[in-house]
Symmetry: C2
Subunit: 244 residues, 2 copies
């Protein structure tokens, strides 16, 4: 069972002030690129894993999805999601994604935003997802990029000699827990190599269709000078796959 940081009040109170919670999908800078990986949602049966406040579930229904089954592990999230989207075609459900069993041949699209890097048993979940997809069904997900999760101390250092900010990779190979500070101390994530993510997908009967390292464009660097950090090392990875 992964850590349920989202039900820890001191974390949650700060988390909900993030643009992506206040403004929804358009508050997430990676959203335009993630959206571009989605098929036309019209008439699709969708599973949303780690749905949070349900911003994506709502977007899916606004884009004529037939149904959305939305799952999260956080009661805080689900309470808010149910208030924000009251739609009989959206069902909210509490479950631990690390233990999830899914029905066969049920969904056209499985979507997950920034949830998989918390999971200990991701290979099992991806197998369940593959099983649950209809033929040619899609999996679209985002995660924290393995380069971002790898360091034991994920904070920029300065190379004194060159006066350059550097991202200190010190143990990329070693998969498993990383404990970081994010609003509060002790937030736990699971680091996996890029190879592991890709091979979990390929070995589950899925074909890789998209692989986007979220990196700022020249335009974005001008508009958001702070995004320079995200060019030093990629923060997010967006992946698309299709059931063979």
């Amino acid at each position: 069972m992964p850590q349920n940081i989202y039900d820890q009040d001191d974390f949650f109170e700060r988390y909900i002030t993030l643009d992506r919670q206040v403004k929804g999908l358009i508050g997430a800078r990676e959203w335009p690129q993630l959206r571009a990986l989605l098929p036309d949602l019209n008439g699709l049966d969708i599973l949303d894993l780690g749905c949070g406040f349900g911003w994506f579930s709502r977007f899916a229904r606004e884009n004529s999805a037939a149904s959305v089954r939305a799952i999260d592990f956080s009661q805080n999230m689900l309470d808010r999601a149910r208030v924000m989207t009251d739609d009989e075609k959206v069902t909210y459900e509490r479950a631990d994604l690390d233990e999830l069993i899914l029905p066969e041949n049920q969904y056209d699209l499985v979507f997950s935003s920034l949830a998989f890097h918390y999971l200990v048993h991701l290979p099992n979940l991806i197998k369940e997802i593959s099983k649950s997809l209809k033929p040619s069904g899609r999996l679209v997900f985002s995660i924290e990029h393995p380069i971002y999760t790898a360091p034991s101390n994920p904070a920029f250092l300065v190379d004194d000699e060159r006066k350059k900010k550097i991202w200190p990779l010190d143990d990329y190979r070693k998969e498993g827990s990383r404990t970081t500070k994010w609003f509060v101390d002790g937030v736990q994530k699971q680091h996996r190599t890029i190879g592991s993510y890709i091979n979990i997908v390929l070995s589950s009967g899925l074909q890789l269709t998209d692989f986007i390292e979220w990196l700022p464009t020249e335009e974005e660097l001008k508009v958001y000078p702070a995004s320079e950090d995200d060019g030093i090392r990629p923060k997010f990875l967006l992946v698309g796959a299709m059931k063979c």
Copy 2:
């Protein structure tokens, strides 16, 4: 046209002392994993890009390949290759991979070991390769890993506070030339992001089948303590793809 460092004598004299040149394929630590990506070579028509001394071409013929067309940009390499393997089914040829035009529907396997990260026009070459493959034909290649090529100063630093060796990523996003010291000063490579490599493959009508970040196993760490460095950051990336 990429730099032709292999025809620079001061470089070449040192390069040929590497285990992988002296002992051939078994002198390359990544070879077992690269070999595992290959199909059965029996009866295959093969193109070997950046063939060096022709160790792979020879291996392919020893494993009953029907023919091998082997290409390199270095005259030094080709002179040695022709002496080492005199086989009428192996043809050695000098060409710039950045400008290569290939015939359609000709090869069962295109192989390349540690050459593509020198190329400026890799997207064009991969399109040519895809065109030249027969249906279900394979592309198997190794490159220096993008995490390895990214830093402007690709040398380990020490995080003084934590007393840990770190690999200093400082501009992963920025693709293009990197000038490094490898035996001699001024060796030029081309850095591309992982996303770029994968998308070059996927957008050329190829399906990704294998993606191996060459990282030492626990066993190897015991046998070669120096391989700890390769766990801090991956040095090589091995990729398999199939013509759709």
